[in-house]
Every structure is written in structure tokens, then in C-alpha cells.
């Protein structure tokens, strides 16, 4: 393995350890962190490809953190080992944390410092999710006014009619096929 190829594995490891360690507030809140590292900083994926990965994650089983790690690990290195490294790395920090907490679970449950930190962190997750959405509003994802119509329709179906995300994606895909014929 060349020096440069080895470098990518190191970067993948570090990036996904970071994502695993700072990924508070669930999958959607994690997205802005993943995009910041993977698209903006390391340019392993374009914004468009990243959006596609999110769409694929919505339609396939499993958490988005795992899905993105597996997908990006492969595309960045062109090898299955890249997937393995990224996926293990994203799980490792919380794995160690969970084991540590299991020892003194009762004390952690009502720790005043943890609670205090979360009075600030909880509202912040709303901002993190908003950033994830805003980062995807660009000319690659919104190619013309028809994209805006699809966005509005998808928003309405999910928000008002509580339609399942998979169904929304399928409908949007069908709409794309029809509109851009």
C-alpha cells in the first residue's frame, strides 16, 4: 500500500472517531458534522453525492451514521477495508463510553453536570439539524424551479400528512422521472 493510500485510512479513522465522539442528538443532527468533514474538508464526496447517500440511507435499514460511514469508507478508498475502518471508528468512542458508564450507571443517570450540559445541548441539536438541511440547499440539489415544487410537495406530505419517508422518496423519484422526461 502506498503512502498516500495509507494516509486516507488514517484520515477516515480520525474523521469517524470525531464524528462518533461529537455526534450528539441523533442521526439528523449528526449530518451537518458528517457533511462538514466529508464534503467540505476532505472532499471525499460532492454535495450531490452526499445528498444521494442520505436518500439511500432513508430507504435502507439501519442508522444513518453507520450507512454513511460504510458508503463513504468505500468511496474514499475504493476498498471494503475503508468501510470497515470508518464503521468501526464511528462506533468506537461511544462503545468505550457506554462500557465506562455501565460501571457507574446509577450515578450518571442523575448527574447534575450532565443535566446542565444538556440544557444547552438539547436546543442546539435543533440548530445542528437546521444546518444539515441548509447545507443541502444548493444548485446541485435544486437545479430549477421544479426542484422547489418537489421540495414543497415532499415537505407538505411529511409534515401535514405524516407520510413515511420511503414513500416520499419513491414519489419524489417518480416525479423526477416524469418532470425531467
Amino acid at each position: 500500500m502506498g503512502k498516500e493510500a495509507k494516509m486516507i485510512y488514517w484520515q477516515l479513522l480520525c474523521v469517524y472517531l470525531k464524528i462518533g465522539l461529537f455526534g450528539f442528538g441523533g442521526g439528523y443532527a449528526m449530518l451537518s458534522l458528517i457533511q462538514h468533514e466529508v464534503v467540505d474538508k476532505h472532499e471525499w464526496l460532492t454535495r450531490q453525492e452526499f445528498t444521494d447517500v442520505v436518500a439511500i440511507s432513508q430507504m435502507t435499514p439501519g442508522p444513518i451514521g453507520i450507512n454513511s460511514a460504510t458508503y463513504i469508507g468505500y468511496t474514499a478508498t475504493g476498498s471494503v477495508w475503508g468501510s470497515v475502518v470508518a464503521t468501526v471508528a464511528v462506533c468506537l468512542p461511544s462503545f468505550l463510553l457506554v462500557l465506562a458508564i455501565s460501571y457507574f450507571f446509577a450515578r450518571f443517570k442523575s448527574n447534575k453536570y450532565v443535566e446542565a450540559a444538556f440544557t444547552g445541548l438539547r436546543p442546539m441539536t435543533v440548530g445542528l439539524i437546521a444546518a444539515a438541511g441548509l447545507l443541502l440547499v444548493n444548485h446541485e440539489n435544486f437545479i430549477d424551479w421544479k426542484s422547489v415544487v418537489i421540495f414543497a410537495g415532499a415537505f407538505l406530505l411529511t409534515w401535514k400528512y405524516k407520510m413515511h419517508p420511503i414513500l416520499v422518496i419513491c414519489l419524489a423519484g417518480a416525479a423526477g422521472l416524469f418532470i425531467y422526461w
Partner: protein
């Protein structure tokens, strides 16, 4: 027992589409109904897991595995949860390149991409609602979002700022404010 644990979590990982939270009812059904962990205990685990970084479904499977069979149990449960999505996404990654430039696929994804933004916008609003945030409390998250979006600030700093803000508010600002109220 380890085998049963593994396959239980493979099942959980395989049949929950659309993110970690979709897994919770399934995990609860498998784990609580089998009598592995008490209902109340599970709710406690759930609450603590929410305050941890990382992938929610993986973390809760690690907790459950550890409770039942120690470190090996946690490894087995985590592997079980990860494996199905790992395999499926790997297959897609292996073959998606070949389809990406297909004109049909291009059209379909042109339609899907704006919808993905909508699918992120909705949980953002519902998260703000379920936290019962007042307008004032939305200022910090709004600033955070703008910094990430427009200035390219790493979300890590925004997260750390949130933690620092929470600590400062609880131990410093809140006390001062209450004293002044009196």
C-alpha cells in the same frame, strides 16, 4: 445465549428502515418481552443513551449486550445491529457507480434530492416543537446553524458551545437571575 443475542440484533438491524429511532420499539419488544431486561430498566437505558454521542441504536444494543453478557455480549450485540446495514450499503456502494450516469437514474435522483432536504426540515421543526423551545431559546441554535452554514464553522465547536452554554446557564446565570428576581 450469545448466538441468540447476535441474531436478535441482526433482526433488529435488518428490519428497521429510516434511522435509529425507528429501531426502539423493535428493540423494546425483543429485549423486554423476552424478559432480558425489565421495562423500567429499559426506559432508564433509553434515557441515558439519549445523552450519549454516537449512534443511538448501536449504543443501546451495547448497553443491553453488556447487561446480559458483559463485554463480549456488547460486542456481539453491536455487531449484530451494524452488520445488516453494513452489508446492504456496501452492496449499493459497489454497484451504484455503474448506475449513477444512467439517464433514468439521473432523472430519478434529480427528483429525490430536494425531497431529502424536506425530510431533514421536518424533523428539525418537530424537534424544536417537542422540546417546547421559546423564541429566546431559538436564538443560540439559529446562530449555530448560520455559523455552520455560512461561515463553515465545524459543528464540533457549536456542540462544545452548547455544552458550555448549558453549564454556564445552570451554575451561574440561572442563580444570579433568580437572586435578582427576589
Amino acid at each position: 445465549m450469545l448466538g441468540t443475542l447476535f441474531f436478535t440484533f441482526v433482526k433488529i438491524g435488518m428490519f428497521t428502515i429510516g434511522g435509529g429511532y425507528a429501531m426502539i420499539p423493535l428493540i423494546e419488544r425483543e429485549v423486554v418481552d423476552r424478559g432480558w431486561i425489565g421495562k423500567e430498566d429499559f426506559l432508564d437505558l433509553f434515557a441515558v443513551t439519549q445523552s450519549l454521542p454516537g449512534i443511538f441504536a448501536v449504543n443501546i444494543s451495547i448497553f443491553v449486550g453488556y447487561r446480559l453478557r458483559g463485554v463480549w455480549g456488547s460486542v456481539i450485540c453491536a455487531l449484530g445491529t451494524i452488520l445488516p446495514s453494513f452489508c446492504i450499503i456496501l452492496l449499493i456502494a459497489l454497484f451504484f457507480n455503474h448506475f449513477q450516469d444512467n439517464p433514468w437514474v439521473v432523472k430519478v435522483f434529480n427528483g429525490i434530492r430536494p425531497a431529502v432536504v424536506a425530510l431533514i426540515a421536518v424533523p428539525c421543526i418537530s424537534a424544536a416543537r417537542s422540546l417546547h423551545l421559546k423564541r429566546v431559546q431559538l436564538i443560540a441554535p439559529a446562530i449555530g446553524a448560520l455559523l455552520i452554514w455560512l461561515c463553515g464553522v465545524s459543528p464540533v465547536w457549536i456542540i462544545l458551545a452548547g455544552i458550555a452554554g448549558g453549564l454556564a446557564y445552570t451554575f451561574w446565570i440561572k442563580g444570579k437571575w433568580e437572586r435578582r428576581q427576589r
